[in-house]
């Protein structure tokens, strides 16, 4: 009996059980947990989630999803067999069944009508393309960062999410951590006086390029699907060194990487601090380990490598005319004056847990409201990073029109706004 039940999908189980009880008018025992009577969430109220590309980071994210009572993780897709198997084992053990389906091609997962939302934690090469496919398939998505490879992708991401009415949460989990939120609030609400400068730590301002390495024997598709791994990236022969999804084609070839890896966190926080306005309009050439960009309202966004207080990774600093605040992943805040706290207690949460961010996403899946790391916010922050990378690549100042998101009178820069996707992929 129990074996039969575990083979059924939970919704099917409930439906079948109820139907049976009606038909024979006999008491059918349904676990109270299945009806949500023990504090658990009834199956019909659960958000069914699938995972696409679940490696190290994805496994952490998935753990945050699995903590949530209203999540049912149903399927995993990964081009690597080892990852598929590991995630199936992890989730099946969690649920005490064998129901987690595995896929090599995420399109099959997206075809499943029972899946409401997806966790996209592939390498950056796939983030935007997979997210667009998910949106068009009617799924909401939590997408790891960096979410896009260039300016054009950022704009298409924003437009597609609006057009499809889906809920998008970028993996910018610091937007849901109290110390970062408080620091941004101080800046945004004028508590620091007129805001003058926001600082982001790029942690590396050089491009990461993924080469065309020497060909190696292509593994069996079931073990590693190389064609699917390459996905939208231009073709190159198999080489195991390129299987590090974290660094592969991060933001495309010519201007990839650079300030994007950490920038999609730190710059995103700076964007929040300035009120999620469009990206800066001027980006100077790098000088003395820093790159200065300017918003249309004159506030400077400074990508700075050195001179940070010891507040952990991903530090940001906001300076106004009357005060400043600096914070980082330690969870600690340093303020120019304790009066900025105004008697408030800000929870100190070290590290950068994603639990709150995942919860924010799930709440918005239900309410259809906009989560903190929504597509519009992510788009602006990513454009700032991409434009800074273009300035780094060209080694000179570039100017961006905030209305068109095109570089002004700058043919070379504009040609770096987008990059063709390998066939058959499109956004």
């Amino acid at each position: 009996m129990s074996k039969n039940i575990t083979r059924l999908h939970r919704r099917q189980f409930l439906k079948t059980s109820l139907a049976a009880s009606t038909a024979i008018m006999a008491p059918t025992i349904i676990p109270s947990s299945a009806l949500g009577l023990d504090g658990a969430v009834a199956p019909s109220e659960r958000i069914v989630v699938g995972g696409i590309g679940i490696g190290g980071r994805g496994t952490y994210d998935l753990g945050c999803f699995l903590e949530q009572a209203d999540v049912q993780f149903a399927a995993v897709c990964d081009v690597k067999e080892k990852r598929r198997t590991a995630i199936k084992k992890m989730t099946d053990e969690k649920y005490g069944n064998q129901n987690c389906a595995t896929y090599r091609d995420f399109r099959e997962l997206l075809d499943r009508k029972d899946i409401d939302a997806v966790l996209i934690a592939t390498g950056p090469n796939w983030h935007c393309t997979a997210a667009m496919q998910a949106a068009k398939a009617g799924k909401d998505m939590y997408c790891e960062k960096p979410c896009t490879k260039n300016i054009e992708q950022s704009l298409i991401l924003k437009d597609t999410i609006r057009r499809t009415g889906r809920v998008f949460q970028a993996g910018t989990q610091r937007r849901n951590l109290p110390h970062f939120a408080f620091a941004c609030e101080l800046a945004r609400t004028g508590k620091l006086g007129k805001l003058k400068k926001v600082f982001a730590h790029p942690a590396g301002m050089q491009a990461v390029t993924s080469g065309w390495l020497e060909a190696e024997e292509v593994p069996d598709k079931e073990v590693v699907d190389w064609d699917m791994y390459l996905g939208p990236a231009a073709w190159r022969p198999f080489n195991a060194k390129l299987l590090d999804g974290f660094n592969f084609e991060k933001g495309g070839g010519l201007v990839g990487g650079g300030v994007l890896e950490w920038g999609s966190h730190c710059v995103d926080l700076c964007q929040w601090a300035v009120g999620d306005i469009p990206a800066p309009v001027e980006y100077d050439a790098k000088k003395d380990d820093q790159l200065v960009a300017r918003y249309e309202n004159g506030i400077e966004l400074i990508f700075r490598e050195k001179d940070w207080l010891k507040l952990g990774s991903c530090p940001v600093r906001f300076e106004g005319e009357t005060g400043w605040v600096e914070t980082g992943d330690s969870g600690k805040l340093v303020l120019s004056s304790p009066t900025l706290l105004a008697g408030r207690t800000v929870a100190e949460i070290p590290g950068y847990p994603a639990t709150f961010h995942v919860r924010d996403f799930l709440d918005c899946v239900k309410s259809r409201s906009q989560p903190k790391g929504n597509a519009d916010a992510a788009c602006n922050a990513h454009i700032a990073c991409h434009a800074a990378n273009v300035a780094l690549y060209l080694g000179r100042q570039v100017k961006l029109d905030p209305r068109t998101n095109e570089f002004i009178n700058d043919d070379h820069a504009n040609r770096l706004r987008s990059e063709a996707l390998r066939e058959p992929w499109r956004l």
Binding site: W212, S367, W425, R426
Partner: protein
């Protein structure tokens, strides 16, 4: 071999590309220089360069390419390996030549390569390709036809709209979704151009077509927005749909709908919706803070289904204003705990200085259950209302007094801290003492000047009763700083044992290193031996755990050794020596080991420190010769000396020199001499020993001529 070399060169090119290109692409770059670069790059494409090199050349042409590069790039479009690389510059190079090249290739290629061409044509929005794409819509390959449909959508002109509209009905099942996507893309383009009526036609066509649900949702959203204010009935229609997807698209579309007319419609709809939907509609209403119909939200907050009430109350916390406060205060004292809690949270969050002013004004004549609620809000919102709080402290209702004292703790300014100290030391009612002391703690830890705060607290100690003294000392412990440390240090020598106990415990948990001298002093002069021991243990903890220089740590260990009067603490000092493995601490451990009671502990530390002292092997060896190390059962399992694959079996030599301790002394300080020669002259060698120490297996790798000490293996758990 040649290919390999080319590949290697290409890889190097790729990895260094950033730096090279960045150096070249300067603002001063002239058209001539760009042309020269383009010519060089074209020459590579024309050469027999390896595919990898041609690939990266394509990328460079993204920046430097012109119409001159197009013919060479076009040649690569049929190359399965390089087609995707060639399309990168062809999508970027302006001018009709690139369009023409992509159209030509689309006329001859098949399968994925063809799809790539169609996708690029769509990206470039090549209006001249509409006929070609129209033909490709009929392709038997559904993926090709789908790519053509989306490309037509991206072009988004009248011709493509007409084609897509026709195809919506006639396309095969596998293509319909893409055609619908193309239609919606087309319609979005029309909306951007201000042609809303034309867009509505397209959206409605999609809504009526048999296409996947998601396409219907997209078209529905577009159809509502493109109709402007006339779209409100269509929006409301979706709110009433039984279909969950349509209801959800209504929720998200309502949030982006312009103007304020829709807010009234939402309010009406919320009132008639089922509770589960009304909850979500209230959320959407609150996401339109500029135009939300507040009275409707307020009404929903007051009556009806509980879940709707709570959702509405939460919404008021985000978008409410002073007009909502009387009701929220009423909700905050309701018997239903969920409603009450939601209201309290909303009252805490509701924005605006006027809200604070209103709360203060209500305080003046407050009574009953709302009084403590108002006082709570003063505390939570950090409102300055000192006079009202002091008045409330005299109230006969304990709940009011408790709330007032708590609020005072959250809001009292530094210059009025003495008021709270007085209340804590001499409460008007004895039963308020605990709350007052808790409030004082809250206030003291947020004071900007810890030294000034500690001075005020210290002054109050004399007048305080014993229990209050203890409470004040604990608060001083949290305030910390120089003054607090001194006061607590003095208290630790007080004549009252209870005060001694609390003070020494506070010192034992002190978090800054300046407590060390105070602890050392107490370890000698505390009134009771048990507190001397406590102080010494705390002092040793500081020596072990706190950040300081090696010299300071050693000095603390010396002082602790001198001051310890019990074996137990002396053992702790010996163990602390591990933190600073130096010749001096080795000597300290050896000296300590001369005491039979400390010998085993000292030996363990000696064997820990000695191997780490790489620079003084001879001196260490001489020192160890004076030590009677503990006996150990040692078995040499395997021992090899050498480098890489050149290894010499030296297990027997070790076994012969083993003296039943973990230290193995060889005949000579030189491994080469002891092991019968150099197994790998000129190379850096290692000695690797596998062994069992007291039957527990272990392994150690030693640099040439290092002391041979077998570490105690870690037991597997």
């Amino acid at each position: 071999m040649l290919i390999n070399r080319q590949l290697t060169r290409c890889s190097a090119l790729l990895t260094s590309l950033f730096f090279v290109a960045a150096g070249l692409a300067t603002a001063a770059e002239t058209a001539v220089e760009s042309a020269e670069k383009e010519a060089e790059l074209i020459a590579i494409l024309q050469s027999s360069a390896a595919p990898g090199e041609k690939a990266i050349t394509c990328k460079k042409l993204t920046v430097y390419g012109s119409s001159k590069a197009v013919p060479e790039l076009a040649k690569l479009l049929a190359d399965e390996q390089l087609s995707s690389w060639a399309r990168i510059p062809l999508e970027a190079i302006p001018g009709p030549e690139a369009d023409e090249a992509l159209r030509q290739a689309a006329g001859t290629l098949k399968g994925n390569l063809l799809i790539g061409m169609l996708n690029s044509i769509g990206v470039r929005r090549d209006a001249k390709a509409v006929d070609l794409l129209t033909n490709r819509l009929l392709d038997t390959d559904a993926q090709v036809a789908s790519a053509a449909a989306v490309a037509l959508g991206r072009i988004g002109n009248d011709a493509s709209a007409k084609t897509l509209k026709q195809a919506l009905a006639s396309s095969p099942e596998g293509v319909k979704s893409a055609v619908a996507e193309g239609c919606v893309l087309c319609a979005e383009r029309l909306r951007l151009e201000g042609r809303d009526a034309d867009a509505v036609v397209l959206y409605d066509e999609v809504r009526a077509a048999e296409v996947p649900k998601q396409r219907i949702l997209e078209a529905t959203r577009g159809a509502i927005l493109a109709r402007h204010q006339q779209g409100i009935p269509l929006l409301i229609e979706q709110f009433r749909s039984f279909d969950k997807g349509l209801f959800q698209i209504a929720l998200s579309t309502a949030r982006e709908f312009p103007g304020s007319d829709v807010d009234q419609a939402l309010a009406t709809e919320m009132a008639r919706a089922t509770p589960d939907r009304a909850v979500l509609i209230v959320g959407a209403m609150a996401d339109r803070p500029e135009t939300v119909v507040l009275p409707a939200v307020l009404k929903a907050a007051g009556t009806g289904a509980k879940e709707v009430r709570i959702a509405a109350i939460k919404a008021l916390g985000r978008v409410g204003n002073t007009s909502c406060l009387p009701s929220l205060l009423d909700f905050g004292i309701e018997a239903d705990a969920d409603v009450s809690l939601a209201a309290k949270k909303a009252l805490f969050e509701i924005p605006g200085d006027n809200v604070d002013k209103y709360i203060v004004s209500r305080l003046a004549k407050a009574e009953g259950k709302v009084y403590p609620l108002l006082l709570d809000l003063v505390g939570q919102r950090r409102i300055e209302a000192l006079a009202a709080l002091l008045k409330a402290i005299d109230n006969s209702d304990a709940a009011v007094r408790t709330a007032a004292l708590t609020a005072l703790g959250a809001t009292v300014p530094p210059e009025k801290l003495n008021v709270l100290i007085k209340l804590a030391v001499s409460p008007k009612r004895p039963e308020d003492a605990e709350v007052a002391q808790q409030a004082l703690r809250t206030a003291c830890v947020r004071m900007p000047d810890p030294e000034a705060t500690a001075t005020e607290l210290t002054a109050a100690l004399d007048k305080a009763s014993l229990p209050t003294k203890i409470a004040l000392l604990k608060i001083l412990g949290e305030v910390a700083g120089t003054k607090a440390l001194h006061t607590i240090g003095v208290a630790a020598k007080n004549s009252d044992p209870q005060i001694q106990d609390v003070a020494s415990e506070l010192l034992g948990n002190w978090l800054t290193i300046d407590c060390a001298p105070v602890l050392l002093d107490l370890s000698k002069s505390a009134p009771a031996e048990k507190f001397q021991i406590r102080a010494m243990r705390a002092y040793i903890k500081v020596a072990r755990q706190f950040a300081m220089s090696d010299a300071e740590r050693i000095e603390m260990c010396h002082k602790a050794t001198d001051a310890c009067f019990r074996t137990a603490e002396r053992k702790l000092v010996i163990d602390a020596l591990r933190r600073v493995p130096t010749m001096e601490t080795l000597k300290m451990a050896i000296k300590a080991g001369q005491d039979p009671e400390l010998k085993d502990d000292a030996n363990a530390v000696i064997l820990f420190i000695a191997p780490t002292l790489g620079g003084n092997v001879d001196e260490v060896r001489e020192l160890l010769a004076t030590v009677e190390l503990s006996k150990a059962k040692v078995e040499i399992v395997k021992a090899e000396y050498g480098t890489g694959s050149t290894q010499k079996d030296v297990a027997d030599v070790l076994r012969q020199n083993f003296k039943e301790t973990a230290l193995i002394a060889l005949p000579s300080a030189s491994y080469n001499e002891s092991f019968g020669g150099d197994p790998a002259p000129g190379s850096e060698k290692k000695l690797i020993i596998q062994y069992k120490l007291n039957d527990v297996p272990g392994e150690v790798t030693l640099a040439e001529n290092a002391l041979i000490i077998l570490p105690v293996p870690k037991q597997k758990k």
